[in-house]
Amino acid sequence: MQVDEEKLRKALSKPAAYGPDLDLSQYSMEAVEQPKVDEEIIERSFEVGVDLRKRGALTTFLQIDHGALYKSVQKQFEGDVELLTIEEAVRKYDWVKELMWKLRSPYEDKYTAFNALHGAGGYFLRILEDRKIHMPIQACFLMFSPGAIQSVHNIIVAEPGSEAQILTGCTSHPKVSRGLHVGITEIYVRSGARLNYTMIHKWNPGFDVRPRTGILVEDAATIIHNYIAIGYVRSFQSQPTARLVGGNSKITMNNVVYLQGSSEMDLGGEVLIEGKGDKAEIITNAVAAERAKIINRGKISCEGEGGKGHISCRGLMLSDSAEISAIPCLVSRRMDSELTHEAAIGRIAEDQLFYLMARGIPREEAESLIVRGFLDLSPMNLPEHLEQGIRRIIDMALQGF
């Protein structure tokens, strides 16, 4: 898509619809020299599900600050998967530019505008027609330079009939205390394709995060979009947006969030059902500990014949200083649509706690079992080893609890 620079510059001062407003002049695009992939970086990436030790074996993309540091396609899938930096892709294919900013507007707010003007890096990932990639594809974005703004643009195209599992982990180096991560991700799920896309975040407490995700789901295509955030963030705001344009297509957005400290998160999910018999689900399980504040918005609108949508927002409060809001929203423009939602916020249920204690499990352990159970990963349909990996991350975060 052609962008209008004049208009972009104006949009640079436009706050996002939700979340605290940030002053972009407080961050820099300067970067210190890129580090080597050392143990610390490998360890940290592992905490967001990316196994850099296996980078020789799995399709892997690693970006630190503004540029790609590593990129490779698993041998077995060469010719099935195309992985390029976004800059390479724009040079290689005319049509890549057409896919950029089609599912999110660059004029939406200052973060998209900044990205359209000054963004650097991101990946282009294409799963070729009818290819089934049964091994995970992993991408890691790590922030290393203090006070930097990492502003990346990713394009994913799952061509007709293809299948893949993509994992994107975003994180900050343990030594860096402040930064802003902006990630634009546009995902095209073509006819009959099946995609499992999982984003895992782990931030240092001083980081601000503004992902902007747009998803297009065509005829009989399916996407499971998972988001997992464990630990801290200064502020996070995102409203991934999907359009189901074909018939019999399906999206499930699963969010699993555990926040502590003074973390603030405004997490949404918006689906527009346009096709016949499309299904959408947004499921969020959020735990707020200490002084964490979580706003959870889900919105499903239906214009397609016989469309079905369901939103589930569940919140678990672990402290009286925490705050959780659930704001599910349903919009129907069809008589035959079926839209439902459920929202519930509460503390750990006493009857469950008592039950586990009556089985000889000590109180603290019973509490942590229930919290871990609440952060249920099973709807995410993750590969076994990844699910176990994320469980480990959750266990680590819950150790102090």
Binding site: A349, E350, D351, Q352, R359, P362, E365, G373, L375
Partner: protein
């Protein structure tokens, strides 16, 4: 005496549910507790295991010579009390497998546990499901019993292990319990007494409106209840405080 309950008065909210219960269960004995719906049987179970909602306002509970009336649930469990609940809660997100592993501590008993699960027909599929979520009546009972047996407690309290259970499940449960209870002590609550076909209990008690009004031979009491219903108990004087 393994369990000794003296003049127990229990309140929930400000309603008095148990009004002076006396009960003694010796080592190796199996006792049966009958009683109509709402008479307070499950409340007695909750009081023995120490549910915080059930307040003991008078009387004492002595287990293995230790006064546990004020002790937290965890300590009672550690002393050797295991409960099969009548209405266990659903626990979303925790798989049965994980819970049973925690309970049994995965120790050298791992093999025994596998055999136990097999005998109770607890399948892989069931083990992978969230505890009690969407379980059928029979599945709930079998899983409750498996958990209680995995704890390896000396004293088992079974709150209606036979209600809502079909013939095949009853057979499974009955066989397992009859074997286990050869070596352990138990208090079994049963509404229609189906489970008695498999067990040889020591003694039975009947609870009406929060008091135990009679004791006696289990088969004899069951026969009377079958014939005349609980009205019989109310007019019963003969066996009273026998």
């Amino acid at each position: 005496m393994l369990l000794k309950i003296e003049d127990l008065h229990v309140e929930v909210g400000d309603r008095l549910l148990l009004k002076g219960i006396d009960l003694e269960i010796g080592e190796g004995e199996t006792h049966i507790l009958f009683g109509p719906n709402g008479s307070g049987k499950s409340s007695l179970v909750m009081a023995i295991i120490g549910h915080p909602g059930y307040k003991v306002i008078d009387g004492r509970i002595i287990f293995k010579g230790i006064d546990i009336t004020e002790k937290p649930t965890a300590e009672r469990v550690k002393l050797g009390i295991g409960v099969v609940f009548q209405n266990p809660p659903k626990i979303y997100g925790i798989r049965l497998r994980e819970l049973i592993n925690r309970i049994s501590g995965k120790r050298e008993r791992g093999d025994d546990i596998l055999k136990l699960l097999d005998r109770l027909n607890i399948t892989e599929n069931l083990l992978n499901r969230h505890v009690n979520v969407g379980f059928s009546g029979g599945e709930i009972k079998r899983c409750e019993i498996a958990q209680a047996l995995a704890m390896n407690s000396d004293f088992l309290i079974l709150d209606e292990p036979d209600s809502g259970v079909d013939v095949e499940n009853l057979e499974l449960i009955g066989r397992e319990l009859s074997k286990v209870l050869e070596k352990k002590s138990a208090l079994i609550i049963t509404h229609h007494g189906y489970i008695l076909r498999y067990l040889k209990p020591t003694k039975a008690h009947v609870m009406i409106q929060g008091t135990i009004i009679c004791h006696g031979d289990p088969d004899q009491i069951l026969n009377q209840i079958m014939r005349e219903g609980y009205r019989w108990c109310e007019k019963c004087r003969l066996m009273r405080r026998s």
